[in-house]
């Protein structure tokens, strides 16, 4: 990109954003002046989202399920209760449901109506999860959507799509990668990707470049 193009795009983006930015700032001013919110409380919410939640929480849950059969059973039975027993994972809300991938069945999570997502386990959803291409096609052509992620499944595998239409939240328990016998929970957690817990990806393979 030439310098000219760069400047052009920069100015364009800037002017487009600033209208929304000004309106957002004005609304915050109004809410603050009315005594509804403290700006410091908004800062603290943002900081909590940035530091307390994220896919590392889900990855620890998955890794524990891979190494501890009793925990796995408990997780599949009542994920909220099972995750609540892990002190080091962020607190989790009610109605979390873990669904297990097997050689016979691959699970995919979507919210066709908005953006419902297990954010305590995975952090805030990525833009693609909230956008029309994923929301429209995941329920009608899930294999086509998976192909957009470079994911291909055997043709006989059942593809089970969970549309998050209520306050239940779904977490995919992916299959443990081969070649990880004897690995610690911590080592295993590093193989667990965000997308593998949504069902649009697989865990990393041992030894493969990340």
């Amino acid at each position: 990109m030439s310098d000219h193009d760069h400047d052009h795009h920069h100015d364009h983006d800037h002017s487009e954003l600033s209208e929304t930015e000004l309106r957002v700032r004005a609304l915050e001013t109004i809410l603050t002046e009315k005594g509804y919110v403290e700006p410091a409380a908004l800062d603290a919410i943002i900081q909590a989202y940035e530091t307390k939640i994220g896919p590392h929480n889900g990855a620890q849950v998955v890794a524990k399920a891979w190494t501890d059969p009793a925990f796995k059973r408990a997780l599949l039975e009542d994920a909220t209760k099972a995750v609540s027993t892990l002190g080091h994972v962020s607190r989790v809300g009610d109605h979390l449901v873990a669904v297990e991938n097997t050689p016979q069945r691959h699970n995919v999570i979507v919210c066709t109506l908005c953006s419902c997502y297990p954010w305590e386990m995975l952090g805030l959803p990525p833009v693609w999860y909230k956008a029309a291409p994923y929301r429209s096609r995941a329920v009608k052509d899930p294999r086509g959507v998976l192909a957009d992620f470079g994911v291909s499944l055997p043709k006989e595998t059942e593809v089970r799509v969970w549309d998050s239409t209520a306050e239940t939240r779904f977490l995919v328990l992916p299959m443990r990668p081969e070649g990880t016998e004897g690995w610690s929970e911590q080592q295993l957690a590093e193989l667990v990707t965000r997308d593998s817990m949504i069902g649009t990806g697989f865990p990393k393979t041992p030894g493969a470049p990340s």
């Binding site: 004005a26 609304l27 409380a41 239409t165 209520a166 306050e167």
Partner: protein, 219 residues
């Protein structure tokens, strides 16, 4: 409502395009919008279903052409004006020129942040026994409420199997309209892809929704 937000099964939106190393927020204002929505909801200005309804009620061309957090902002502003927490004069001035309206739970302060980082509880005591049990066939009703509903269009009229019973939950269709929690039984209902999309659909696909009892009828 049969809005553009109800996207399941629509064609023409193109490929999914994941963004490598996507940041949590793309601009600072996105984070402020998220925080304002969470704070005002927690302070009692609205419930989660009402906030969803206001985003769904954005004009279709606005919904489809706005970024995610832009939709959140527009829905929040409309909602706060409609419920009287802010006035059009405040928005026009960019400052509070009208007096505030009391919030159900009072001002949102730093002490409230921790409690909102855990999702709310939506389970409620059952007012009546469940009508359906796992394994039963049910049909998603052919209903088209013009207000908020969580029954997506693509399952209406189709037959599925009750797979799980989640107990009784706040009913979004009522809560969104501020008509009370009206708790209802909630089930995971699973449909064959061919039932939803016709005989040419991929026979390995099964799709479930979580359906409130009023969305379902016995087959």
């Amino acid at each position: 409502m049969n809005g553009v937000h109800d996207m399941g099964g629509m064609d023409g939106f193109g490929k999914v395009e994941p963004e490598p190393n996507e940041p949590m927020f793309h601009t600072e204002w996105e984070a402020r919008v998220l925080a304002m929505v969470r704070a005002m909801g927690a302070a009692g200005a609205f419930n989660i279903d009402t906030s969803r309804f206001y985003r769904e009620a954005l004009p279709p061309h606005v919904y489809l052409s706005s970024s995610y957090y832009k939709k959140w902002f527009l829905g929040l502003e409309d909602l706060l004006v409609d419920k009287g927490f802010i006035a059009p004069e405040d928005v026009a001035a960019g400052h509070a020129v009208q007096p505030p309206k009391p919030l159900k739970r009072g001002k949102f302060t730093v002490n409230d942040v921790e409690r909102i980082m855990v999702r709310g509880k939506f389970g409620r005591t059952a007012p009546a026994p469940a009508k359906f049990k796992p394994g039963e066939l049910v049909r998603a009703r052919n209903i088209h409420p013009a207000t908020h509903t969580r029954l997506p269009r693509y399952v209406r009229g189709h037959v599925g199997v009750v797979e799980r019973d989640h107990g009784c939950h706040v009913f979004p269709d009522s809560a969104a309209m501020e008509a009370g929690e009206n708790p209802q039984w909630l089930y995971t209902v699973v449909f064959d892809g061919t039932e939803l999309w016709g005989p040419d659909a991929d026979p390995t696909v099964r799709v479930s929704i979580d359906a409130f009892e009023p969305y379902l009828e016995a087959v």
